[in-house]
Symmetry: C2
Subunit: 337 residues, 2 copies
């Protein structure tokens, strides 16, 4: 899934070129390239599918030239994750009705890639011959209020690390998040799902027949430009995960592989290296008397900052932001005014 | 004179494209263009001469296309103001031995241009038929420690506003500057000189025969590239003004035409319009909870600043500076590290 517009990282991320296509860590690879690399040894390049907005297709082709061009699905408009996943899974079903599928965002990061591969492989084994839906659950390292949570059973299925999901929980307030973390059987919902294509196809048909019907028309050669925008605009969590969990069909693999959705500057700051004064900087950045700053410059050849404490400094293609870290939730507004 | 490198305004001003060639006020004209405009009605375009470093000749030609190409003198190296003025005046002398000359920096600003013209015209009248040297003295509006001062006689010459110069004074400390301002007969030395070409030629031959000798060789067709760099590196103040004032030959026109040399960010800040929070900004700049900032962006298409109090923010061609206004004397170092 590579359709997000990443407006919280303006001007580094702009709607014409959003976060998943940016080398946000300054490591030489973009987030979507790192996401693909993460599946090395699990999925060959010819089995990748990318669903993205039609305006990003050229970027995907340029950044992932080994993915078959026909596997890049161009959404005419954003309809949230359920239509996106339904479309990709329908296409996969056409070519292999027994496929085992991982759905992943393209803009998260994982620090411990071997552990990630072990977890994903375990989940794939679990779903290969069953109608289980597995969502990867991240063991929470802090009472984060920015993520949804998965409540799971206290013990794992026999002979497995996988546990039954009891409920999905919306983003909590701070107090509730602290309770979740203390309880031990609440995990962050990373939005990474594992299932076989038969399971997801049947689930969508059962819980979202409107979307399944449109996918039937698209599979029969219908006009994507006309049909896709008619899909209900709904997340896979609401459309499938919640009803399926009530039906007892959803599982989670509690995992700890250094995951972050890089959803905001705070999480990027956490993932970057820091100097002795707590500054994290990407680019040719010279800091004097600065502390606790996070700086990301993409186009600038030289940046000098003096006397800043606790600021975000971001630059790309002639747009510049300097903003207190405590005010980052306003960046989306800043970008639009 | 247009040879300065303007390193105090980095990155707005860079050695490849310094301050005098920049629209520093965001008014649509560069400082050198405004300087030329200021002489409208005093000096026709074909009588302008520009002395600049050889690397700026193309910029001068582009910004001042009406000045004869042969009147742009390209210094192979910077030798301070005495060789610069000696060369231009020697060239002027070759074409008109009775010329009356104004020497001016190209990077200062003047707010009251009609008054400037009145003062310059008065000074030119004074030097047309005499061997007087007139330096324009600016009535000080504050005890500035960044300028040199001219001490002049308490009263003007009969029938004139022009007074005899008693002494040139180096940049003073704050206490001495306050004394100067209180005394009333101390003026800022703006570096604008008026004299006829015979006077300056004879003065240079008398006080700086080394430079005069090199100009003889250049006037005879000698190689400027070889000869000019051999000139003593000395300012016109030390070379001519001080000895000539001891000889009783230097005068000043006390003036008040809103002059600033824009020598630093503080003086630029003073000259720009301010918003209700004391911010002065040039460019497409959006300010939130900012106060007392001075912002100049030249290339950026959009700049958002939040929560900055008392900062300089400057940008050009992919170089960015954010720095406390109190630390501006370090900018030159920032630009080089």
């Amino acid at each position: 899934m590579a359709g997000g517009i990443g407006s919280r990282f303006w001007p580094l991320s702009v709607p014409q070129y959003p976060k998943q296509f940016i080398d946000i860590l300054g490591c030489g690879k973009t987030l979507i390239q790192m996401t693909v690399d993460r599946f090395q040894g699990i999925c060959p390049m010819e089995n990748f599918w990318v669903v993205t907005n039609e305006k990003y297709v050229d970027i995907v082709r340029a950044q992932l030239p080994e993915i078959p061009v026909g596997h890049i699905l161009a959404e005419p408009s954003a309809r949230n994750t359920a239509p996106c996943i339904a479309w990709a899974c329908r296409m996969i079903h056409e070519s292999d009705a027994s496929a085992n599928v991982v759905v992943t965002p393209s803009d998260a990061i994982v620090m411990d890639v071997p552990e990630f591969r072990r977890v994903i492989s375990g989940a794939l084994d679990f779903t290969a011959d069953s109608d289980a839906i597995v969502t990867i659950g991240i063991r929470p390292s802090r009472p984060e209020t920015g993520y949804g949570y998965v409540e799971c059973a206290q013990s794992a299925c026999p002979g497995s690390e996988i546990r039954k999901v009891l409920a999905f929980k919306e983003k909590p307030c701070a107090q509730v998040a602290a309770e979740y973390v203390s309880k031990g059987n609440y995990l962050w919902n990373a939005g990474i799902f594992v299932w076989n294509v038969k399971t997801i196809s049947e689930s969508i048909r059962r819980y979202e027949p409107q979307i399944a019907g449109i996918m039937d028309l698209i599979a029969q050669g219908g006009n994507v430009q006309e049909l896709f925008p008619q899909c209900n605009k709904i997340s896979i969590d609401y459309a499938v995960m919640e009803p399926a969990s009530l039906a007892g069909n959803v599982y989670t693999f509690p995992a700890d592989f250094g995951w972050s959705d890089l959803g905001n500057w705070a999480s990027l700051y956490d993932r970057l290296d820091h100097d002795a004064h707590g500054n994290a900087a990407v680019g040719n950045v010279h800091l004097y008397e600065c502390s606790d700053c996070v700086v990301h410059t993409a186009s600038a050849t030289k940046v000098v900052l003096q006397g800043l404490d606790g600021y975000i400094v971001s630059e790309k293609d002639g747009q510049i932001l300097v903003c207190r870290r405590s005010e980052e939730q306003r960046i989306r507004d800043f970008s639009q005014n």
